[in-house]
Symmetry: C2
Subunit: 392 residues, 2 copies
């Protein structure tokens, strides 16, 4: 006498978490220096010092009742202004505070948007490889979840395959760039092709097909690469963001939905997002940390440590003989599993305390993900183990 | 081409918020000392000093990456242990850490429980007067929302009316004690009657009918009154809690679901709650504030200021001739509207910058709510205005 879907969602064990727990247990036996844990996407660069300084300054100088008091449902006015100004300054498009709905992180943002777009028989498309939670979030919101097979050469979007799966019921497509798990950044060329196809099909079916841009890694790119601002290329784009990675605040659960003015029926979509957030309990995001991201959103992360890791790991694995696409963003590297069976290979690695994540649940069988938000020393120590399992 | 239910939920204006905004605007015109705002339930007692001290100590002494890092989905182990220990120490029942799922406040807790209990044709009962969001939360979770008419004499539960509305489809009844908006505390006598009725009907229909105890005001009671711990009186009780009021942290969004061991199918219900929380994006509650409530949950609020207000307001209004039930808990007083039309009376008050909230949307027409989490001076200044509108 309880909900089957909810029970099933709560009854699964996460492979990532199991591997992580295994690593913690092994560390006690063989020593932490002999466990090579690439499982979790927890930032290894600390939050900028302005975060903790800002928290302490607010606590020391402001009225505690106000500091910890309820915010407006979509967020503090001044926080929304600050976020909008930062986007306007950087993205070459005017974003107003009224376009911003602050949420408890990217998952609530995405869930609210998915719920807002749900209509009868609606479908949402994700491009493999995709973040594993997209599927349960999409189906729980009442949509059919449709997958575009991966482009394993460049991890862009396979346009021919995308064209095949768009139907009159397609409400949106989730794009995640920089991508978890591949680290790929969608190029302007790719996005223009996607935009042209969506525009054509929107016209054909007589309703907008939205891009839902899930962008928690937007600020994590290397080699001076610029991530295209998708609303500039395709008007009907709704952005979901989180400061989990850019400000290294994953535990603090703070992000936003942005519905730019260029979105068709944008004001109504915003209201539907606000209503979905209300019905799911995602209004009035945490007050103190809201203030902090309002202050700190212009701060760009110092990615030096991730970049060093990225190059070291990519070079090291490629030299051994692993096949991987060089990642341009995020802190993930996706690698083809030698032998083709990612779970079997992961088991082999696990026996050597090398903890990797098969990307089968991300819609990418035969590969594994490495989160390189780890210490450089761990990568250096792990390379001989990678060599050993590769040659075994 | 967007979700109608979500749009409608986002398109409503909140009467409470409108009144509050009106008060802010009027304050600029007539001066803040001439606006008497009883609209919002924002605590006026600051958080205990241990809250801000704890935040600063953690920031000063701990690794920032860990402090702001992801927590486990149901919350940090040590936080769940602390909450469980505190409940065990105070409530005379053993609560284990595994019974606790930490959430971003009471609304996510309630929403997760409602979703977990949803089955085909299921119904959830609320007792009027009830918190206005129960209805949208319940219907959005897929249940029918069923209301027990108010007991306007003592604001307990009208058992005869409750007996009439329980059906074989009843999955649960939400009890909110101390109550928003009445301030009433359900007595042990009332709860035993409810328990007996639910036990009888559970046996008759062959499945448990759960009490969902929404208890953000549990620690806010006066005159040394003890709030009964409902699981001790009725085994199938699931608790939703928030520290918004007891630690004066409404903006920080932190609370929990507790599924005690005595709950039938408790482990499965817990999994369903965890899954519902996952599907709605309510896992991994904010990390820093989780630590703080873990530390501060044994601290009882100093209610002196609320108690002074309660007595002053109750005595003042009663002397004027208003009819109100003396509240035992929370920081609300519910008053019968002179003339019987609460909205008409609220308009009369508004013209004098006296801002009150008709309880019609709480399932209690003809009454209004006063939130007395305000300054004592405001109450004193407002009493002549209450007299004026009463006599007009």
């Amino acid at each position: 006498m309880f909900n089957k879907e909810a029970f099933d969602a709560g009854n699964v064990r996460s492979y990532i978490r199991e591997v992580f727990e295994y690593g913690r247990a092994q560390a006690k036996i063989v020593g932490p220096e002999n466990v090579f844990d690439y499982s979790l996407g927890n930032p290894s660069i600390p939050a900028p010092k302005q975060v903790n300084e800002g928290i302490k300054r607010i606590l020391d100088t402001e009225d505690s009742i106000k500091v910890h008091g309820y915010t407006s449902a979509p967020g503090y006015d001044e926080v929304r202004e600050s976020i909008a100004k930062n986007l306007t300054d950087r993205m070459g498009m005017t974003i107003r505070p009224e376009n911003i709905f602050v949420t408890c992180g990217a998952a609530p943002a995405l869930i609210s948007v998915l719920r807002a777009l749900q209509v009868e028989d609606s479908e949402i498309i994700a491009v493999a490889p995709y973040f594993v939670e997209y599927k349960p979030f999409t189906t729980a919101a009442g949509h059919k979840f449709v997958v575009v097979p991966p482009d394993t050469e460049h991890f862009q979007v396979n346009i021919e395959e995308l064209a095949k799966v768009i139907t009159e019921h397609t409400q949106g497509i989730i794009l995640n760039s920089p991508n978890n798990p591949s680290g790929a950044v969608l190029t302007e060329e790719t996005l223009k092709k996607v935009a042209a196809l969506l525009a054509e099909r929107s016209a054909q079916y007589g309703h907008p097909i939205y891009i839902i841009a899930d962008e928690p890694y937007r600020e994590l790119v290397y080699d001076g690469l610029k991530v295209p601002f998708i609303p500039s290329l395709y008007a009907n784009t709704i952005i979901c963001y989180s400061w989990s990675k850019s400000l290294s605040l994953p535990g603090e659960r703070i992000g936003y939905v942005c519905v730019p003015d260029c979105v068709e029926d944008g004001e109504d979509i915003f209201k539907a997002v606000a209503g979905a957030a209300r019905l799911a309990g995602h209004t009035c995001a945490p007050s103190l940390i809201q203030r902090i991201v309002g202050e700190c959103c212009p701060i760009m992360p110092d990615l030096e440590a991730y970049d060093v890791n990225r190059k070291l790991l990519y070079r090291g694995l490629t030299e051994i003989g692993y096949k991987c696409v060089r990642p341009d963003g995020a802190f993930y590297l996706t690698v083809a599993a030698p032998g083709g069976d990612a779970f079997a290979f992961a088991e082999k690695c696990k026996a050597k305390n090398l903890l990797i994540v098969p990307t089968n649940p991300f819609g990418l069988p035969g590969y594994f993900r490495l989160s390189y938000c780890v210490s450089k020393e761990m990568i250096e120590r792990s390379l001989p183990v990678f060599k050993e399992v590769f040659e075994a």
